[in-house]
């Protein structure tokens, strides 16, 4: 009951980059599920994370606030974060709530992954 309406998959890429794919509703539980997945990847040694929101069409402000919180934690540990595959509405929400100041926002997964390379931080 009241299970997250979100489908999460995580992977660690060759160069130690953590990847989270989230499809579904980013509310309280969905945001927390993404946050937990992120903490686990960072705890496992990933310095950079890509969060792919392809398949996420609906969010709420509480869910996004929880994402903001993990971003702060990851920054504190000098980690890097990028989002990709946002719908225009989600991109706009991230911008309004200021998430774009903490994380890169990219059109697709490749662009997000590459951003860390050119950064020299991956």
């Amino acid at each position: 009951m009241n299970e997250p309406q979100i489908n999460l998959q995580t992977a660690v890429l060759d160069d130690g980059l953590g990847l989270i794919s989230a499809a579904g509703y980013i509310n309280n539980e969905g945001g927390q599920a993404v946050a937990d997945a992120a903490s686990e990847l960072v705890g496992g040694g990933c310095q950079s994370l890509v969060i792919d929101l392809e398949g996420t069409r609906i969010i709420n402000s509480i869910g996004v606030s929880i994402l903001l919180e993990i971003m702060e934690k990851i920054m504190e540990g000098a980690g890097k974060l990028a989002f990709c595959n946002l719908t225009p509405t989600i991109a706009k929400t991230f911008e309004i709530m200021g998430l774009d100041q903490y994380a890169g926002i990219f059109s697709d997964r490749e662009a997000a992954v590459t951003s860390f390379d050119t950064d020299g931080t991956a």
Binding site: N2, Q5, Y25, N27, R57, I58, I59, N60, S61, I62, V64, S65, I66, L68, E69, E72, T87, P88, T89, I90, K92, T93, I96, M97, G98, L99, Q101, Y102
Partner: protein
């Protein structure tokens, strides 16, 4: 074309309203971006109605014809009400990126919709909002 939903304040019930927006939006010929914007706005309005209203609330959706056809969305609750003018009318009064967990709902609603009217008194709060179809060729 009208939808009226009487919904109880239970977890995730806002997704019923979002699904109704999607269905009516598609029937009206609204594009995907418009539908998603209205969906997020209606979700925020439902969450407020559930948090500050009573044990149930009402959502009304309607297509409005006219020079620029649009969807009208109303979310109505019977809670204690509030003074909408005392809430920041837009994000200019707010520091971008300040990590506040709360207080984003009305801002998002105003940014995502084309027009928003809020009337509120103890016992009846109504958030009424419009989104144009914008699918002109």
């Amino acid at each position: 074309m009208e939808v009226v939903l009487h919904l109880p304040a239970v977890p995730n019930v806002e997704l019923v309203a979002a699904k109704a927006v999607e269905t009516l939006g598609e029937a009206m010929g609204m594009d995907r971006d418009g539908i998603e914007a209205v969906s997020v706005a209606v979700v925020e309005a439902c969450l407020n109605a559930m948090e500050h209203g009573g044990s149930s609330f009402v959502v009304r959706l309607a297509g409005e014809d006219g020079v620029s056809p649009r969807m009208r969305v109303e979310v109505e609750d019977q809670g204690r009400g509030f003074d909408p003018d005392a809430c920041p009318p837009d994000d200019s009064t707010r520091v971008h990126g300040c990590v506040s967990k709360r207080g984003w709902g009305l801002i998002l609603i105003r940014e995502l919709m084309d027009d928003v009217q809020i009337s509120s008194r103890p016992g009846l709060t109504r958030v009424r909002m419009w989104k144009e179809l914008e699918n002109a060729p």
